[in-house]
């Protein structure tokens, strides 16, 4: 007798499987509920409650939050000094993103196209290890490099380039007493600590450019430089955008580096941290926090359209 065409279910797991098969949405729901509870309810909820906070104000003398709806805090946010902070942060984030992209590109390009076998592993480790080695200790190491009596000055003294260093420090706005108290120094440190976040997605998207594409370009008569400009660069763009999400966002929110390096002028992250943590002015901190949220949401929207999510 031939085997039956339909096998009878045995046990709960067979029945459950049948149920999932009949109701695919049920399984989907079961899969999504726990993560969505956390991210969608708790995390988004807390972002939302932060947003609400920004519509409260603070009692000026006692420093207690007055939970009444008001736009006073936003009026405060738009004071010139606070706008300065926002603009300063945005400029720094943009500069850091640009700087990181410029430094990252050759590394990512080399790692993606030319490094083979063992060198590939060397590059991978070379990029990953700085990423995972203590951020704080790195920043302090930089303080030592950039200090007035630090390594850069020492090296400049040895190489006889002190006057060049002085000329750089004498630049208006970005210069300062020493590299460690100037925007240049801060820019360097930011660029340094976020660099791996730029390299990795860049490398990933460069690796996805098929060799045949480069060959097609050469075949059609393009020189290496032309191929680079017209084919490699545009195809690497999603990776650059994905990387810039990180560098931009991380700079927007960092409060430790501006506290240690730079000239004490406040940055958004520092303002949020100080207003919330040390000044207890949660409403204004929240209002400040809304700025990077809006900027990053817009940025993510743009990145999504540029197809950068796949490169993350």
């Amino acid at each position: 007798m031939p085997a039956p065409a339909i096998i009878q279910p045995k046990g709960l797991s067979d029945r459950l499987t049948a149920l999932f098969w009949r109701r695919p949405r049920l399984l989907l729901g079961l899969l999504l509920v726990p993560p969505l509870f956390w991210l969608g309810v708790v995390y988004l909820g807390s972002l939302f409650s932060l947003l609400i906070q920004s519509f409260y104000s603070i009692d000026e003398f006692s420093g207690m939050v007055v939970p009444e709806f008001t736009l006073k805090t936003y009026a405060e946010l738009f004071r010139a000094a606070n706008l300065d902070i926002i603009i300063r942060t945005l400029l720094m984030a943009a500069a850091v993103t640009l700087g990181a992209a410029l430094i990252a590109f050759p590394i990512a390009y080399y790692a993606a196209r030319f490094a083979k076998g063992r060198w590939k592993a060397v590059f991978y480790l070379g990029i990953m290890l700085p990423l995972w080695s203590s951020y704080l200790v790195k920043v302090y190491a930089w303080k030592l490099i950039l200090a007035k009596e630090g390594i850069v000055t020492w090296a400049a003294g040895i190489t006889g380039t002190s006057s060049l260093l002085d000329a750089v420090l004498a630049l208006p706005v970005v210069g300062g007493g020493s590299l460690s108290t100037s925007y240049i120094g801060m820019f360097l440190v930011f660029t340094y600590v976020w660099l791996p976040y730029m390299i990795l997605p860049m490398q990933a998207s460069l690796e996805r450019v098929p060799t045949s594409m480069l060959e097609a370009s050469a075949d059609l008569g393009a020189t290496r430089a032309q191929t680079f400009r017209t084919v490699v660069l545009p195809l690497a763009m999603p990776g650059v955008i994905a990387g810039s999400i990180f560098t931009f966002s991380l700079t927007l929110g960092d409060y430790i580096i501006p506290q240690i390096i730079g000239n004490s002028a406040s940055f958004i992250g520092m303002a949020v941290y100080q207003l919330q943590g040390t000044a207890g002015n949660t409403p204004l901190a929240a209002a400040f926090a809304v700025v990077p949220i809006l900027i990053m949401l817009a940025y993510l929207g743009f990145a999504k359209r540029a197809g950068a999510f796949d490169a993350l």
Binding site: A112, Y135, A289
Partner: protein, 268 residues
């Protein structure tokens, strides 16, 4: 032949870039041996290995270390479960709100850490959850999910969708398919994602400052230590040891995810 070899300028630029990435690290290593204890000056006045012994004997380091280990382990485990669930759902079907969910998963790392930190702090405050090891773990899990998710989703994408159907076709129910087909194939991706998440959690300071109570993880310990210098080289010793300890998992993660993703053009 077209371009087996990089041009000189590219090699120089890449080399300098790598140097830029590693110079400060070399410095960290150097200053783990300096004899000056309260602050750093260049060049170091003398070299000693005593800080390793000192670090070994400092109970606060061990406490912070165990806490960090505990936090990273549990946060990674949580992230593994949650991240795998979403990635399974996301690769399984196209459904309404899919795009929004992918955005949502990205949010905790796309938004600056202060924002995540302050938001979670207010949320915990409002839910009446006291700040403790638990809140640190929850904070870390939030941004670790995306690391696991990215790794798992990439693997799902590479996994020929057929093998899950093949399993059902051969008579396996959903649980058998998960156990015998999905898990073994997702395994290395999850391991790699887990290790990266672990390393990320181990070094996190910004969100932690907001979600921690009186506990200090290794980075928090370092923050306090660096601001209030006593035996400052000890922080470098710790940084160096952490660096050495992450070397292995990162290398492992690399070899686990390497196959198929490192060949030019084979990404998708």
């Amino acid at each position: 032949m077209l371009s087996d070899r990089a041009s000189l300028s590219l090699r120089i630029a890449a080399g300098l870039g790598l140097l830029f990435l590693h110079l400060p690290i070399a410095l960290i290593f150097l200053y783990a041996f300096t004899t000056e204890e309260r602050s750093y000056a260049f060049p170091p006045p003398g070299l000693t290995t005593k800080w390793f012994a000192v670090a070994w004997q400092r109970p606060d380091i061990w406490e912070a270390f165990w806490l960090s280990l505990q936090v990273a382990a549990i946060a990674t485990a949580l992230a593994l479960v949650l991240g795998t669930l979403v990635s399974a759902a996301m690769s399984k079907a196209r459904f309404f709100g899919r795009e929004q969910i992918s955005l949502l998963i990205l949010l905790p790392i796309a938004l600056p850490g202060v924002i995540t930190g302050i938001a979670l702090r207010t949320a915990f405050g409002e839910m009446g959850i006291p700040f403790s090891t638990l809140t640190i773990i929850l904070g870390h899990a939030t941004f670790c999910i995306v690391i696991v998710y990215n790794n798992a989703v990439a693997r799902f994408r590479r996994l020929s969708g057929g093998i899950l159907e093949a399993s059902a076709d051969l008579g396996a129910n959903a649980f058998q398919t998960f156990r015998h087909v999905l898990l073994p194939n997702l395994g290395t991706a999850l391991l790699a994602g887990g290790m990266l998440a672990f390393a990320l959690s181990f070094d996190e300071v910004i969100v932690t400052t907001f979600t921690a109570g009186q506990q200090s993880t290794i980075p928090i310990w370092m923050l306090e230590e660096l601001i209030r210098p006593r035996q400052r080289p000890v922080t470098n010793v710790v940084a160096m040891l952490v660096f050495a300890a992450t070397f292995i998992p990162i290398l492992l993660a690399y070899y686990l995810t390497r196959n198929g993703s490192d060949v030019a053009g084979s990404g998708k």
